[in-house]
Amino acid sequence: MGSSIVITSGKGGVGKTTSTANIGTALALLGKSVCLVDTDIGLRNLDVIMGLENRVIYDIVDVSNGECRLEQALIRDKRFENLALLPASQTKDKTALTADAVKRIVGELKQQFDYVFIDCPAGIEHGFKVAVAGADRAIVVTTPEVAAVRDADRVIGLLEAERLHSPKLIINRIRPRMVKQGDMLDIDEVVQILAIDLIGIVPDDEVIISQANKGEPAVVRPDSRAAMAYRDIARRILGESVPLMSLEEKTGFWQRMRRLMGGRA
């Protein structure tokens, strides 16, 4: 019997889907069987980021309506043999999915996978309640911005109300230089406000965007710092204790020169 983890944030655009794709893939690469479930009905993105868009035939709404079997809707990723995706519906109404249906589907998936990751839509309304219904645990993603932290705080309160106590925290898209200059909240500040356990910090990394556009999760890239951060998170989910990565940037002579000239290093 596997365990189900919902990835949520409240605010949009902080990296829920990216985190779902990367953590899931990282766990699959570590030998676990993983299923990613997209519950963002009408705005499905997970299949795009995973590069599986052209293989979507049936979706989660079809499964809940009994129009197909769960097996038929699951897309097995050919690159990672342990990884499957249950896509969201793009055309149906948001209310097409109910909490009971998701609970049932996730329950079935837990029978055959070690980990079921549920990608939650932004917001705190119907979609959120539905996504959270089937989860045993929760991971809250935020960025070091005041608005994102406020929304994360709200979501943690709502998760507690749904009996998902002590969720874990990912702080995404950290820009070390801005933190150093005091223009961005630092990790300690965010953790102090939200008062939950940190499971990972992910630096802002352009590779995330280029890989998403390619339809291949960034964790496969050995050189990317964000990829490294996501692999660390996957290992922490497995119970290993991995120290937080250092955000100190190595700055060489030429980078400093370029910065002096006003360019981006």
């Binding site: 406020r150 705080d153 709200r154 943690i156 309160g157 709502l158 406000i193 008062a195």
Partner: protein, 229 residues
């Protein structure tokens, strides 16, 4: 050192009628300081005027609390009839200290023991209580604590606190880490002052109402203040 809070303002007068949703239905609180005529007029406007549609629909349980006011039988009949004319209203309670009003707030058990809330009061959460409240945790921005008595926060107060919510002007708001967004004691609001462009951020302080308005002082002075009063 006492820091007077510069920017302060008063809440508007209480409305003659306030409507609260409770677990069982609707609770109408009739302001005891308004005249019966004023209340009746407002009720008619609410229930039979433009907003009447809001109260239509399926059967709803209704409780009416008229505070500590004494009503003559004639006045009782006048007010009651406004509610009875509403077909979907099922009047469950009518009185001066109704159960519904009571259950609107969490309760302290003994007269002297405060309500203790364990855990952070997060954005969007509201802790309301009759009597004094102790929060073991932070009150985050967007979180709200309301008490008819004092409020003590064993953590960081960064949200909104309202002490003496039923008019007790001697109530205080104290916190280990004191950086509130907005303070309210009885009917006086205050926004903490900014010092060198940064919001107030102190340790172990409390806010109270002095003769000049709301002020903040070190917690050590709180017992003195209580003895004087």
């Amino acid at each position: 050192m006492t820091t007077p809070l510069k920017e302060q303002w008063k809440a508007g007068p209480k409305p003659p009628v306030s409507v609260k949703g409770t677990r069982d239905g609707l609770l109408f609180l009739l302001n005891e300081e308004c005249s019966v005529d004023e209340i009746e007029a407002r009720l008619r406007e609410l229930l039979h005027g433009e907003s009447a549609g809001w109260f239509d629909g399926p059967e709803v349980h209704v409780a009416v609390d008229y505070g500590s006011r004494q009503l003559t039988p004639h006045e009782q009949r006048r007010l009651l009839s406004v509610f009875l004319e509403k077909e979907n209203f099922v009047l469950r309670e009518w009185g001066s200290r109704t159960q519904a009003r009571h259950s609107l707030y969490s309760h302290r058990e003994g007269a002297a023991s405060p309500i203790i809330h364990w855990g952070t009061v997060r954005n969007g959460q509201h802790v309301a209580a009759e009597g004094d409240v102790v929060i073991i945790g932070d009150v985050n921005p967007g979180g709200e604590v309301t008490a008819t008595g004092d409020i003590f926060v064993f953590g960081r107060l960064a949200g909104m606190a309202h002490a003496g919510s039923e008019g007790n002007r001697r109530a205080v708001i104290a916190a280990a880490e004191f950086m509130p967004m907005l303070l309210r004691i009885a009917d006086t609001y205050a926004r903490p002052p900014e010092i060198d462009g940064r919001p107030l951020y102190t340790w172990m302080e409390f806010a109270y109402l002095s003769e000049e308005g709301m002020a903040v002082d070190k917690i050590q002075f709180l017992p003195n203040l209580r003895r004087q009063g």
